[in-house]
């Protein structure tokens, strides 16, 4: 059978060597991929619940069970004010951890092949992922803060500072997103990522100022906790929200960690992604 001789209706556009996508194309591609990821998230409310479950359980547990004992002069509400800023940092790490798993799943299905045969930059896929996860973090912070208000947190009119604390923690969370993305690309299976993340998470969370002031810890632990970036993030958000204690220094440290981690892990993640796909 010969198809070459069949009459042709309008032929496809002639091919030109148009080269790589422009910055505007990049924006459009990231936008389209953000829509995809957001739809995926919408179709999977369970993952949002998972992200919120731990922080909410910890909030209730620490406020009601330990709050009376830990809070200065047995003041439960003062402890709630202490705890909530740190819980935001903890929430961001939980969400960041889940990112590696999702990415790994994408790589195993043929979807990535389809994207790679399209005229888009590889990094668009990762950037879209970061944007959507950042959105997820902000939603999670909002829910968490509502829970905090319900169990006795007092904003005391410091709404602008609260906004700054949220923004700073989100920035810190973004750097965590890149780390876990890199891990997700380096480790073979989703289980391996979860295992590795969980092992690292426990000491980092509890060896920090999230739950109790580091001064109450034994010397060796205090040494670790005071350089732990989670402590800096928690202290910075707390300083802003409560308006007591040092603010400038932890904020600066948090910025240094966030920018430093992103500067190192984001390019590494993009490079690993290019190599693996």
């Amino acid at each position: 059978m010969t198809t070459a001789t069949a009459t042709r209706s309008p032929a496809p556009a002639p091919v030109r060597d148009v080269g790589a996508p422009t910055p505007r194309d990049h924006l459009r591609h990231v936008g389209a991929l953000v829509r995809r990821q957001a739809l995926q998230a919408k179709g999977d409310p369970q993952s949002m619940m998972d992200a919120l479950l731990m922080p909410i359980v910890f909030t209730l547990l620490f406020v009601y069970v330990f709050g009376g004992a830990i809070g200065a002069d047995g003041d439960r509400d003062r402890y709630t004010d202490y705890l909530m800023p740190g819980m935001m940092a903890m929430t961001s790490i939980g969400i960041a951890m889940a990112v590696g798993t999702g990415l790994n799943e994408d790589l195993r299905t043929g979807v990535m092949d389809r994207f790679r045969a399209l005229p888009i930059a590889r990094s668009s896929v990762l950037v879209a992922k970061v944007v959507v996860e950042l959105g997820r973090m902000l939603v999670a912070f909002a829910v968490l803060l509502l829970v905090g208000l319900a169990v006795g947190m007092d904003v005391d009119g410091r709404w602008a500072e609260l906004g700054a604390a949220v923004a700073l923690t989100a920035l810190f969370g973004t750097s965590l997103l890149w780390i876990f993305m890199l891990l997700g690309l380096l480790l073979k299976s989703a289980q391996a990522i979860q295992g590795a993340s969980f092992l690292a998470l426990m000491p980092l969370q509890f060896g920090s100022s999230i739950f109790v002031p580091v001064e109450t810890m034994p010397g060796w632990l205090e040494a670790f906790a005071s350089v732990n970036p989670l402590s800096h993030a928690a202290d910075a958000a707390r300083g802003l929200m409560i308006g007591q204690g040092p603010v400038a220094q932890p904020v600066l440290w948090t910025l240094v960690w966030a920018v430093g981690l992103t500067a190192v892990t984001a390019p590494l993640a993009v490079r690993t992604f290019r190599r693996r796909t």
Binding site: T3, A4, G43, G110, V111, R114, L118, P119
Partner: protein, 336 residues
């Protein structure tokens, strides 16, 4: 079919393409020329290197040696532009299982730089064309295998590609869906798209492709038109199925002793319960049938057929293909 030797008219132009995976030479110096606006079949058994070839041409793999261009663009040096000119349906479904069929197509449209309105109307039109309108707003994880395959095909056509790669597009489809896919491929060619398709079925190549390249273990072992290849491989075979499979050898003996045997020896296929007789002419065919009638053999079936992939391989390489693929469509038996 006219084959253009002038490089500018070739939609796909491949010279000495080599790709290793460790010790495996998946492509071992492949040459391929596909004329613009045609359907070209790449036929080969499992592991022949078909998928590797398609992936190199679609810029998903970087070849180790050789040179390849698609729509006049080099796969290594101009991948970004090349990706605007191609569509790819891989061997395994590559749709996003979690977002709806419509969203899948809209996403690809936007990634191909269509405007919102264009991407929307293109998604609607293609869903309609592949009878997926009903399922448009369900996620593909609720689709049947054939529906998913159709969505995958639709996705590769969003950008009205100049060259479309289809890697075993109908493997695992039921005959009706397979015919739909074939019709769509023909329609695309009419619109000017060049299609390179890989297949394990001679039947598919026969239906769609003007020209064929037969590959095995990373090498091209034959190429030409479908009819030309068939001529090389041999003509019609008469297939005789005695009502009683026990009669197979008596039938073979009767044929061998008479002049109806013809120049090529008849062969019994005990497993299938049939005798194959290569026929050289209509007179020869008549002789064989007359002999069967004279000897009073009770028959369950008689038919002639063109060579199958297996027979093509047997003739071209002297070897059978990999273990019989049970999903292969049965050879159609045309009345003699």
């Amino acid at each position: 079919m006219t084959r253009t030797t002038n490089g500018s008219d070739l939609a796909v132009d491949v010279h000495g393409l080599v790709k290793h995976f460790g010790e495996t030479r998946a492509l071992d110096g492949v040459d391929l020329a596909v004329a613009e606006g045609t359907v070209h079949g790449v036929l080969g058994p499992n592991g022949a290197g078909k998928t590797t070839l398609v992936r190199c041409l679609a810029t998903l793999l970087v070849p180790d040696a050789g040179r390849a261009s698609v729509a006049g663009l080099d796969v290594v040096r101009q991948p970004a532009s090349l990706r605007r000119a191609i569509g790819l349906t891989g061997q395994y479904a590559s749709v996003d299982e979690k977002i709806s069929g419509w969203e899948n197509l809209y996403l690809i449209g936007r990634l191909l730089d269509l405007s919102r309105a264009d991407a929307r109307s293109r998604a609607d039109a293609l869903l309609e064309r592949f009878s997926l309108t009903e399922a448009a707003h369900r996620p593909p994880r609720t689709y049947s295998g054939g529906m998913r395959r159709r969505l995958d095909l639709a996705a590769s056509m969003i950008g009205r590609p100049r060259v479309l790669f289809l890697d075993e597009p109908t493997t695992g489809l039921d005959p009706r869906t397979r015919n739909e896919v074939w019709a769509e491929v023909r329609r695309l060619t009419r619109e000017g798209t060049t299609v390179l398709l890989t297949t394990q079925y001679m039947e598919e190549a026969e239906h769609l492709a003007g020209a064929l390249t037969v590959v095995d273990r990373g090498r091209v072992i034959a190429e030409g038109t479908v009819d030309g290849l068939k001529a090389r491989v041999g003509g019609r075979t008469l297939e005789i199925r005695p009502a009683d499979p026990g009669e197979l050898h008596r039938l073979l003996g009767a044929l061998a002793q008479s002049r109806a045997a013809g120049p090529a020896a008849p062969r019994a296929d005990v497993a299938e319960g049939v005798v194959h007789v290569p026929v050289v002419s209509d007179a020869h065919l008549t002789d064989v049938v007359r002999l069967l009638a004279e000897r009073g053999f009770a028959l369950a079936g008689v038919g002639t057929h063109l060579p199958s992939l297996d027979e093509v391989f047997l003739a071209l390489t002297g070897e059978r293909t990999a273990p019989a693929d049970t999903t292969a469509p049965a050879t159609e038996e045309a009345a003699a």
